[in-house]
Subunit: 506 residues, 2 copies
Amino acid sequence: MSAPESPAYTELIGHLQKTSLLASCAHLLGWDEQTYLPTQGAELRADQMALLSGMVHERTTSPRIGELLSQLENDSQFNNESPASANVREIRRTYERATRLSQKLVEELSRVTTLSQQAWIEARQKRDFATFQPWLEKIVALKREEATAVGYGDGLPYDALLDDYEPGMTATKVQEAFSPLRDELVQLVQRIAGSTHKPDRSIITSSYPVAAQRSFGRQAAEAIGFDFSAGRLDEAAHPFCSGIGPGDCRLTTRYDENYFPQALFGTLHEAGHGLYEQGLNRNAFGTAMGTAASLGIHESQSRMWENFVGRSRAFWQHFIIPAQRTFAPVLDDVSLDDFYAAINIVEPSFIRVEADEVTYNLHVMLRFELEQPLISGDLQVADVPAVWNETFEKYLGLTPPDDAVGCLQDVHWSAGLIGYFPTYALGNMYAAQFFNAAQQELGDLSEMFARGEFAPLKDWLRTNIHERGHQFQADRLLEVVTGEKLSHQPLTDHLKRKFGALYGLD
Amino acid sequence: MSAPESPAYTELIGHLQKTSLLASCAHLLGWDEQTYLPTQGAELRADQMALLSGMVHERTTSPRIGELLSQLENDSQFNNESPASANVREIRRTYERATRLSQKLVEELSRVTTLSQQAWIEARQKRDFATFQPWLEKIVALKREEATAVGYGDGLPYDALLDDYEPGMTATKVQEAFSPLRDELVQLVQRIAGSTHKPDRSIITSSYPVAAQRSFGRQAAEAIGFDFSAGRLDEAAHPFCSGIGPGDCRLTTRYDENYFPQALFGTLHEAGHGLYEQGLNRNAFGTAMGTAASLGIHESQSRMWENFVGRSRAFWQHFIIPAQRTFAPVLDDVSLDDFYAAINIVEPSFIRVEADEVTYNLHVMLRFELEQPLISGDLQVADVPAVWNETFEKYLGLTPPDDAVGCLQDVHWSAGLIGYFPTYALGNMYAAQFFNAAQQELGDLSEMFARGEFAPLKDWLRTNIHERGHQFQADRLLEVVTGEKLSHQPLTDHLKRKFGALYGLD
């Protein structure tokens, strides 16, 4: 793929690459903030981040970009599905979004979300929604304003917000996929609750020394193909993966000595994100072609390695012996099947980030079902706790004892991230669809996993997804790779098959 | 101290603070490069650093600075020893230096030093000066050009280079201090060599597990006052201290399981630098008043904590028991005096960075005595190895077996750092002068150290040196604090007293 010979295109890409390089400096500072920054350095870090993001914003909204785009968009070679067209398309999308928001709105959003973080922390500590309510009202109003400014054509205001995280996705398409998924999962959770199979949770709550977990997690991340010569694994209170840029992708996890799944599956999850970042085309750094397609596609990679691989029986056919050796003697008398059952316990619980593979999606859908009417105006902020609890009871059969473990549990809304949640469940659906396609092409993946062979899947993902960057929007990428439209079916099939067997539901 | 009310001054300081904030981002990236950067991230990091330093350079040479300076320099309130005057003076010095160098010279220096690093590494590996010679010739020629461009009034070309690291210092003043120091030290080294006292080196080459060294080093750095809530201690191949900015100062060290002094005294050395950085006035960040006075003054702080404190008998009166406990059983049967003698072994050796407290200065002076004629044109690069070896023999009674442990050992020249070495020995002289002044004011510091009390010295340094930032040039600061001019006498007195006792020379 050779770049088109166009001075305007060359200038535009050069501008963008420099902006991305500057942004990559901010990413490193952001990583450091979460891992190694001394407490007293917080104020300096905030100043540094504000400076860099201000510079990045200035470059992103430079009127010169608009001029160059106008020239290119009349040129047929930038109007198809080519890499260059994708770059132009995404620069336009980002530029429009950034320039359509007034300076006043951007500043107000920044001011309000900074203050509301504090209010949210306080509200959660006091288990008192009223403390947060006025802030959430402000945020919802501002996000509506944002949606209006960005525009949403014939769609819904929510689409304009969703588009920031999942370009091209709409609330209607999300709803169409979520509805049947929800019905299937509510039923599946109920059937599991009624099962007589009761896995032994004590297997995963024994003593797992942190040093041993650290080395085991690194070994697993290496085994699935994460390249430590181009990345790291550190600790952070809120784990994440940061793709700083070519050759530098950083994972974080956290360790709980008495809860084995946390660090390991967290590490596999972040390593899944990391494999995506490491698989992007280095030469396209700074352009759409060197960038992930969407948050949902990103999440499909992390969830695939965490759940479809890491929580599979086949994975543990290979890893149970190394685990027994590493954590001796706690796993000495544990069978493969008991271990497999213990790391796959399904049980309704209040906290999304601690939820199992089945209930997790219900947590996410609940949030979408609140966000959407909040933005359309059909739900008042004051009614959020009641609707949350009602819906939670309906989906999971439990009622949160207070809002701290209910509608106040997530940081997202206080940070102004409305429209972000759906990408988590979209990621699970994409993952199932991609996994099926890989399996169709590569044959029985389980057999490979059982032999410790993860390269075939990794390479398939690299060719089909990672190296394509953001050439296509998520739904189009899905179609190109799998031949299918977004569907809940592969995910529900997978979950029913896996947990049906585990809980003897047939 | 209230800031003068001058719009030009306000604008100038604002400009400078933003530049410093941007530079502090580069410092964090530089720290990360030496500590945690994955190998494959090197190219990205080089691009990031080039981008940031280009932006910093552009801001530093902005013509607006020249305009503002011209306005301020006619104003009497910026023409005295006030903080505001110091800020203006240093902005002028930096601005002149940066703008007097042509773009062509700056780029050529950058290009040549990058390439010559490779040549130097190869030459050192092959133990072959000829490989490096043409590069050193280019560098010397460029540094002469730099000196001419910067200017040196009635002084020597070398002064213009020295001034970059030790503002206000001249080759003549350095020479005046170094000559008697050299004579005294050559004699002292010879007397020590003739002593019948032979300390037991095996004490410091036993097995000291790295984990234990790490915790002991941290404990020692904390004890002398390094604030870990505003700093860190990590590992690096070439240890350094990086003052990122207010609240964030990062030390590094390296561990040798079979050589105790390396990590601990390295840590105390870097913590000495760190205490200076942590003691700077936070509110003056980005201006001369919030910056160290010179490399020599910086080195005076590191060498004071490393040698005058860390290698004192009093320090170990306090720390020998914690050390025995931490490293049990290797120090169980070692007496305080035997340990003290072992960490203070004086012995001529080839490598500067491994040299003891006495011979170290001779290594430094040797370099100055080559650099100065290289720049004046009185010494040809081709003659460097011969003159190096001759001088080394004269000072230390040894002849390097090859150039790898001779004139090729340091990275400085290949990096274009000519005029830097003297600051190491100046630091030792300043340290002795400051230490005497502190002792005069505070009473017997040894008694305090023996009780584990380091705060009085740290606080004295804070008030007298750290908080003054770069209000004064180094020689003036020395005068203000000690009432003395630069002199070798306090250092030679200290060394003769300490090592006379250790080696029974009286």
